[in-house]
Symmetry: C2
Subunit: 205 residues, 2 copies
Amino acid sequence: MTTRTTPNTLGYAILQLLERAPLSGYDLKKQFAASLAYGWYAHDSQIYPQLKQLEAQGYVESHVEASSAGPDRRIYAITDAGLTELVAWLPTALDDTRQKSELILRVWSSDLMPPEAFKRLLADVETQTREHLERLTSIRNRLQRRYGLPEVTTDPRQVGVMLCLEHDIQLARAKLTWLERALTVVETRAALSGQPLEAADMVEV
Amino acid sequence: MTTRTTPNTLGYAILQLLERAPLSGYDLKKQFAASLAYGWYAHDSQIYPQLKQLEAQGYVESHVEASSAGPDRRIYAITDAGLTELVAWLPTALDDTRQKSELILRVWSSDLMPPEAFKRLLADVETQTREHLERLTSIRNRLQRRYGLPEVTTDPRQVGVMLCLEHDIQLARAKLTWLERALTVVETRAALSGQPLEAADMVEV
DNA sequence: TCCAACATGTAAACGGTTACATGATTAC
DNA sequence: GTAATCATGTAACCGTTTACATGTTGGA
């Protein structure tokens, strides 16, 4: 064992969760599915092999826990080597400007869609974003009632979580602002092209 | 030829660019590297095989163009089938809420970093974001001077591009707001823990 | 009796990244 | 001469997604 290569990003994501508490593969799977503002996720089929790899690398260790109700669970815990590796990784440099977005990819060619189709797309994303924002704020408010504001809370473990939530809330709000703006643009253009419009016609000629 | 499976996302990204003008693989590579608000990108080594695949699927066609200055270029153009496929894909539903972010992944465990390390990380991202925002606004302003506001411009091809730029500008500003906030939180907490603080001490006891 | 949740995986296919490879032309 | 830019690729590896596979327990 202990083939010491560094973990990949998913590996660090799992180490972070295990640093808070020992968990089974199934627990991790639920954590990824449930937590809204965590910055990473993975499919079930990725988690179990990844845990085995982390164990082979010596970053986690596991034991089987018998259960009276249901099948046995294998519980994973972070090792000293795992914690050292995680803490060393956290402050390393990163590029957070380049991101892929299927939405933006489509907006770029939105002139190829009929206005109604584009409006429907924007409205769908707006509904999604509004629901997402509501879930984020309700969790943030719940944490804030329990632990206070991040700058003064006595539980340091909550600071990062709250900052993540605030980040995602901030971005969701900005996206909603843009969605309103985009909708206005489509509607204005549709209205202008619907009726004869001197300024536009003159440029065409 | 014409193994008609639908393209993948990179395929659609390329089809969009080719819909505006025929391009070589090298041109596409430059487009991905240069355009800041396009929603997708790819490595050079992905582009050439992807173009071959799109051609095998009948979505693009190509011819070799001899050049007096430099090597020959293979120029790709979108086909009718490609345009049909692209236009059919554009308005399809999508989920734009789940996104991975290495930054957020680290913020979640920021309590494991010394405050100074976390501050340095935030400051780096802030510099990146500020530079990114400046590039975005300068392009947006240039386009706006040339074509006018997106809601009234007479060139429909520019509408999507401008909306993409406005989207990224909006999000970059929101991120900067959050970065300031996060920095305040770390600094406040560092200041409080530096000097004896009744409220905090009492809870620890 | 059937469905949902618990629990752990394997296999194949697909997508993305890094490293390697080649050779011509142009500007300094 | 040498470095940058033009131009096109291959190979190996790694990471992600989708589909498949199996069996238990508890509640409606």
